[in-house]
Every structure is written in C-alpha cells, then in structure tokens.
C-alpha cells in the first residue's frame, strides 16, 4: 500500500466508473451511505430513546435496580392526582395563551412596521432582540420586575393603585400569568419576523389596485393581505404551540413551580419526578402524556392550516 503512487487510485477509480455497480447507480451524485451517520444518530437519540422512555412509562422503575411492569397504573395515578391535572391545565393554558398573545401582537407589529417607515430596520432589530436571549436570563429580569419591591408595584403605587400591589410571582392567582407575560414578551419578535416575511410576499400592485377600487384598510387586510400570509400564520402558530407546550426555563426561573404547585406544568413535573424524586417510571408516564399532547396538536395544526395554506 505504501508503495502505491498517488496516481494509481485515481486511474483505478476512473477505470471502475464505466463498470459502476448497482449500488453506485442508486444515486447520480453523492453516496447513499453519506446519510448513514445522521440516520443512525437520529434513530438512536430520538426514536430508540423515546421508545425506551415510552416503555418505562408502564413500569415503576426508580432509576436504579429492578422494576416491575405495572400496566396503566402510572396513568391512572396521573389522572387521579389533582396536582397533575393542574399541571396539565397549566401546560395548555401557557401554550394557547402564548400562541394567541404572541401572534396577535406579532402580526400587529409586523403590519405597523411593514411599509413606509424610515427606521423600520432599527425598530425590527429592537423588537426581535429578546428572541435571541436565553429564556432563563430573561426570566430573571422579569422576576425582579414582578418582585414585591419591583418596578410594577412602584408604578402602581405612584398612580394610586396601591391596592393592587402584590407579590406577583408568589401569588397563587397571578403567578401563572407572570409566566405567560414573559413568554409573550420574548416571543412576540419571532412572530413579528415571520409575519414580516409573509407580508413581504404580498404584491404591492394588488394592494394598490384594491385601494383604488375603494377597499378600506380592514377590507384590504382581510381580502388581499391575509390570504397571502396564511403560510406564515401556519408556521408561527405551529411553532409557538409546540414550544409553548414544553415551557420549562421560564417556570424554573420565575416561580420554580410554586406557589404550592400553582405554576407547575408537565415539563417541570417530568423533570422533578424523574430527576429530583427518582420516580423514573412515573416521570416517563408524564413525559408520554406530554408527547402525545404535542404530537396531537402538531398534527391537528397541520390538518387545519395546511389545506388553506395552499390557496
């Protein structure tokens, strides 16, 4: 091998090309096995691991030692425990609440920024800025804002609304809303950018023609602009929903799940049961519930928005 001249492999390869094997003809460019490492990695980390996790959901494994197969006991336990039902409801509340708020705010901002402004690029940069930051870091800033001695309460007192002052993140009613505010604040810029990209595809001529025909602002938006940004709506809501269902960092930083479990969602419960309390089987069952919910809404969302997106 070491005595082979550099020219040899090249000539050998050229000679072999006309007599290409079936395997080579499988593809004209590239080799099929180039995809192999990626496929194996994704199979292992996504599918095999998730399947094993799904299996453990039906056991009482504690993470070490032996375990028993206990059928649906974990799921029965989940749906009989009010605190887990509460976590489930919080999961849905945060997901749908954040999707609605971020998309409405993002669309309004996008429409306001879309045309004519001289400083639109600077404004876009500013409104998008929170998106790139770590949700954990952002949540700490907001924890201070919601603090009892924080800016919100100071402003409330100074405008004579001192009665409303409360410790927001420690208040059983308001704590979950603080989480929602933080998610919305951070993700509005993302929805805005998706909608700006969608709005850029709206032909100006058609909008002008509609205006000349006497269509008002609302009619123009509904009949001309909205149909062309439907794909953007589909993307922004699907991603928002999938991410909203697995919110974790914000809750851990703002409330840690408290007060008294009022802000727990499925993701924080999965973490606490599996890793803090060592109930791997039970934690896996909670994770399976979360997985089923996410897949259900992702598919539903595709069904609802995809056919219209092709209009």
């Amino acid at each position: 091998m070491t005595t082979t001249t550099p020219a040899r492999p090249a000539t050998a390869a050229r000679a072999a090309r006309p007599a290409a094997t079936d395997r080579n003809r499988l593809m004209k460019f590239g080799h099929w096995w180039w995809a192999l490492p990626g496929i194996l990695l994704v199979l292992g980390i996504h599918y095999v691991a998730t399947s094993i996790g799904g299996f453990f959901a039906f056991t009482n494994w504690s993470g070490i030692g032996s375990f028993e197969f206990i059928g649906f006991d974990n799921f029965v336990k989940i749906f009989q425990d009010p605190s887990k039902i509460g976590a489930l409801l919080n999961t849905l509340f945060l997901a749908f609440g954040s999707v609605i708020l971020t998309n409405v705010a993002g669309l309004l901002l996008a429409v306001a920024l879309n045309r004519g402004l001289r400083t639109r690029l600077a404004l876009r940069t500013l409104f998008f800025m929170p998106v790139v930051l770590s949700p954990l870091a952002v949540s700490y800033i907001w924890k201070f804002i919601f603090d009892y001695n924080g800016p919100i309460n100071l402003v409330l007192k100074s405008v004579g609304l001192g009665d409303l002052v409360t410790s927001w993140t420690a208040d059983p009613t308001w704590a979950i809303w603080t989480v929602l505010v933080v998610i919305t604040w951070q993700n509005t810029g993302f929805a805005m950018v998706i909608y700006l990209a969608g709005l850029a595809s709206v032909p100006v001529e058609i909008e002008e023609a509609a205006a000349l025909d006497g269509a008002g602002m609302w009619k123009r938006f509904w009949n001309v602009v909205f149909p062309s940004i439907r794909p953007a709506v589909a993307i922004a809501t699907t991603l928002g929903l999938v991410n909203g269902l697995r919110v974790f960092d914000q809750i851990m930083a703002l409330t840690g799940g408290g007060p008294a479990g009022a802000t727990e969602n499925l993701a924080t419960q999965v973490y606490k049961q599996s890793f803090a309390l060592g109930n791997f089987g039970y934690g896996a069952a909670l994770a399976l519930v979360l997985t089923v919910i996410i897949l259900f809404f992702a598919v539903l969302q595709q069904r609802v928005t995809a056919p219209r997106a092709e209009v």
Binding site: W34, L41, V42, I45, G54, F144, Y271
Partner: protein
C-alpha cells in the same frame, strides 16, 4: 399611494415609544447591576445608580465552584461550536442524499427527520441519561456535542434538504464531466453554494444550543463542564434577592449573544424567517 405622510410619521413615533416601553426591562437590568449592595437596598427599583459600581461584575467573573461563570462561558463556547460543526457536516451530507435520491427510502428518511422535529425531548431524556451515564458521557463536553448534534439534526437536515432541492444539478453535471469525484463535487462545489443554508443552520442551532437549559441541567448539572445557563442557575440559587449581583451575571451571560446579534442582526433575522419558510 403609500407615501410618507403625517400619519406615517405618527406611526413611526408611536412605535418608538412602544419600543422604549418594550425594552424597559433592559433599563432595570443595567441600572440595578451597576448599584452597590447598599444602594440596592436604599434606593427603589426605578432610580438609576448614583455612580456606576462595577464590583458586582468582579464578583461574578471571579466566582468559583458550582457557579464558576467564566468556566461556564468557556464550556458553552466549546459545546456550541462543536455542535454547530456536527450539525453542518452531518446535516448537509444527509440533506444532500435525501434531496438527490429519488428512491422511496429517501422519502421515508425525510419523514423520519420531519417527525423528529416535533417529537419532544422529554420522553427520551431519561433513557438517554441512563445510556450516557453508563458510557461515562454525562458531564462531558463530547457527550453534549453528540447529544445536541443528534437532537437538532432533524432541523438541520430539514433545512438543508429544502435548500438542496432548490438547487439544480447543472453544477454537478458539469463537474462530473470535468472528472471531479463525488466527494470533490460535494465539498468543493455544492457545499460552498449552500452558504445561506449553512448560515441559517448555524444561527438557529447555535442559538438553541447556547440558550439551552433543560438538557444541560440534566446532563451537566454539578459537573466541572457546566454550561453558562446552568452555572447561572446555580449561582443565582445561592443568592437571596441580591438583585445587583444576579443582574451582573445575567448581563455577563447576555453579552456574547447580544454582541453577535447586533453585529449580524440581518443574518439572524433572515436565518429565522428564511429558514422557517423553506
């Protein structure tokens, strides 16, 4: 008809007012981080510091042990860079094969990656943790690079496959006639043409890895190789409402990504909107 009118000017001013309110959290962040301990207690949240005090930053930068922020910064850089390399390399190769093969298995493989994008990580986390523990990959930078590479590969493959499909095969045909090998064609011709896709993958994946807390908390928590968010979490956990210090570490954690963003904000925004449209 869409001219700059008085109404447009009003809209512009209104949006700037809104932007200032929207970004008010950054004012609290900076003004509190620059207060001394005494001033944090004596002044209220809205007042700026009388004179900027940088001692909080010194404390943050010199913290040790579980809350070693500078070590966390280094680990975050290594893990993010390593994951980005894995994601660009494996993502482009896999996406290329999927886009260029017309066989049925390539369609099936594409769906394999597509489904994995929405599949939440929580269910697989426990088995992955057990697996990584038995392979001694928990608490290791290499383990995290493999893990993030696998977790985000579906996104990378999806983006690359979309971009490759939009690229005609003319360049490859021409290069084949000139006698270039398949490997040469890919690395010398096709991949360089994919720099918009590579930019999108690098920005999206880099941001997700850099900001990730859940996975790194589980796999690195308590180890010497903690990333920045985990170090920050432990550091803040050890402080009781010392907001000036908490905000100093929050600022330190934000500076790298904000600098990157303000420097290349157009690429960031294109990465988000262009990539997700594909």
């Amino acid at each position: 008809m869409f001219r700059y009118t008085g109404f447009t000017a009003l809209r512009e001013v209104g949006l700037w007012v809104l932007a200032l309110v929207f970004l008010a959290p950054f004012y609290f962040l900076i003004s509190t981080a620059l207060k001394s301990d005494a001033e944090t207690l004596s002044t209220n949240a809205l007042t700026p510091p009388s004179a900027p005090d940088f001692s909080n930053f010194v404390k943050v930068v010199t913290a040790t042990g579980n809350s070693n922020v500078m070590l966390g910064l280094l680990n975050s850089v290594l893990i993010t860079a390593g994951s980005m390399i894995v994601l660009v390399l494996l993502g482009s190769l896999t996406g290329y094969v999927i886009a260029r093969s017309t066989r049925r298995w390539s369609r099936a493989t594409y769906y394999l990656f597509l489904v994995a994008i929405v599949l939440p990580t929580q269910l697989g986390t426990v088995p992955l943790y057990i697996g990584a523990r038995s392979l001694h990959l928990t608490g290791s930078v290499w383990g995290m690079i493999i893990l993030y590479g696998g977790m985000l590969l579906p996104l990378s493959v999806f983006l690359y496959a979309g971009f490759f499909r939009g690229l005609g095969t003319d360049f490859e045909e021409a290069a084949t006639i000139d006698g270039a090998s398949r490997t040469q064609i890919f690395f010398r011709i096709v991949l360089p043409l994919m720099s918009p896709a590579t930019g999108t993958v690098a920005i999206l994946a880099g941001l997700i890895v850099w900001n990730d807390f859940f996975t790194s908390l589980i796999f690195l928590g308590g180890s010497a190789n903690q990333t920045l968010p985990v170090a920050m979490y432990y550091y803040i956990g050890s402080l009781v409402s010392s907001w000036n210090q908490i905000f100093a570490i929050v600022i330190v954690s934000m500076i790298p990504i904000l600098a990157f963003y303000l420097f290349a904000q157009k690429r960031f925004i294109q990465g988000f909107s262009g990539g997700l449209k594909g």
